[in-house]
């Protein structure tokens, strides 16, 4: 059967075939969109594994770490912001590398203390480590929560 002639003689068949193809490809696109939603869950799981699910806790407040760089300071742009005057505008930077969280002093006037010791170079953080920034004491904890960065 010559479909070319059929399409020429009865445009309805061509329209129907085109509509079928368009609807089919639309369904493909929709399924890909749904799959993208699954990727999000996988991405979250991957991040939880990579970042070890670490969070910071300070006076009952919990700050989950949601990006590979987390800035702590007084400046409004800081990810974890404390309005205290003894905390510098940009006080400390937490970075994630190779599955390890590190904290470093980024020129804070009052320094950064990890487990009571002032740090002079980037320091790897472990569970239950206590970070002192100004008068604030942050503890590294593990759990689930909303990302701060």
């Amino acid at each position: 059967m010559d479909f070319t002639l059929l399409f020429e003689r009865y445009p309805f068949f061509r329209e129907a075939a085109t509509a079928f193809v368009v609807i089919f490809v639309d369904i493909c696109a929709l399924v890909i969109l749904i799959a993208a939603g699954r990727e999000r869950r996988r991405g979250d799981r991957r991040w939880a594994k990579e970042g070890r699910g670490y969070m910071l806790s300070c006076a009952g407040e919990v700050y989950p770490l949601g990006a590979a760089e987390v800035l702590i300071g007084r400046h409004p742009s800081a990810d974890i912001q404390f309005p205290d005057t003894e905390i510098s505008r940009f006080h400390a930077l937490l970075t994630l590398s190779g599955g390890k969280w590190r904290i470093e002093d980024i020129g804070a006037h009052n320094g950064v203390l990890v487990n009571g010791k002032k740090i002079t170079k980037p320091c790897t953080l472990h569970l239950n480590d206590a970070i002192t920034i100004g008068s604030r004491k942050l503890v590294v904890i593990k759990g689930a929560g909303k990302d701060v960065a």
Partner: protein
Amino acid sequence: MASSTKPVSHPFLLLLVLIAHAAMMLLVALSFGLTPEVLKMACAVLTADLVGSIILAFVQREACTVDTVMLLVIGMSTIYQSCFGGLSFAVKHFVFGIAAFLMCQISYAVTRNPYRAERLKPLWYGMFFALVAAIFFLTGSRGIWIDLGVFTIQPSEFVKPVFVLICASSVRTQLHKSEVAGIHFVPDNLMLIFCTVVIAALQWYCRDLGSLPTFVAIAGCGILLRFCYLREKISLRLMIFLGACAVMVVVFACKFAPDYVQDRLHSDIWSDMSGSGYQQVKALTAIAEGGWFGKGAGNGTLIKVAASRTDIVFSTICEEWGLFTGMMTVILVLFLPASILTVPPRSYYHSGLAVGVAAAFIVQMALNIFGSCNVIPFTGVTIPFISQGGSSMLASGILAGFLKAAQAPVLTDWSAEKKEGK
């Protein structure tokens, strides 16, 4: 990051891509008959799907949405381009589509680690200025093409991914400030502003004003991200200031634009249908004639109009395949930048990359489609992956690789690890 998570739906998605292309090929075969040209095209597209699927299933398992959508869109655009105005397999378009897919994997590998990509910034600056020099010295008199005899290259297309790499920045870079005469500044921000001015001036000089909004959008997003570093609230005052700046730039650009741009801005296409409004009138008429389901593959007449495969490709698709298919194609291409909404980037450098790519894709598509539909003056910008053109296709592939990198990063700072090891 060494991830062991397997994309559960990946083989299924690739199978869907294969079936979608097969359905389109079936429609082409029904329209043209089983000619050798149809068989050649079907073999090429379906083999590419199969090979791509095998490679992705066994080698590359991360960020499957970007790969899947790219395979789907490249195959679809090959079928469109091959059928415009009659059947002729668009071999060149197909080959560049495959090359774009490979470029995507390469750029993904290069930018996957944000720490390394950031450290390579001097290289990106070097590439940027090399490309700018190439545009200035090698394209002839105020042109945008380099003629190599066998083929031509449009270097300004390759500037786009390099410019996106320049616009992205990390927190550490933003904290690194210099001081000159008591003024504190971030050197990287100063370089970005300088590069923006250079590329804007060059585009103006080369009369490639169609690409200018794309560069301005990429730079605008990069600068806005830095303004708002990191989570600073976008204050009403800042928004008013930025809005006023944007209005001033637009007014300035319209007032001092070259004569041919002034003509396009002020002319009514319907009163000059055979002159300056010719392409847009034909493009609009083609969309209307195509209706919802088109005239049928190969039955379009817009192919006789200049730039029907590139600058007004949306109208050409709508004429032959219908408005439904045209809209669906646009949505599929928009899937790519939208994929960052599903898997948010986990580093600020990757956030910058993703936002830059989204700006580039969205502005290019808006310029092309709105230009074809006479909403804005005709600009002559391509739709990523759909329009014909090797430079545009390869640059789009590189940009898609950045999206993949933002979705599946490797977060290991090797220099920090080495320092700690010592």
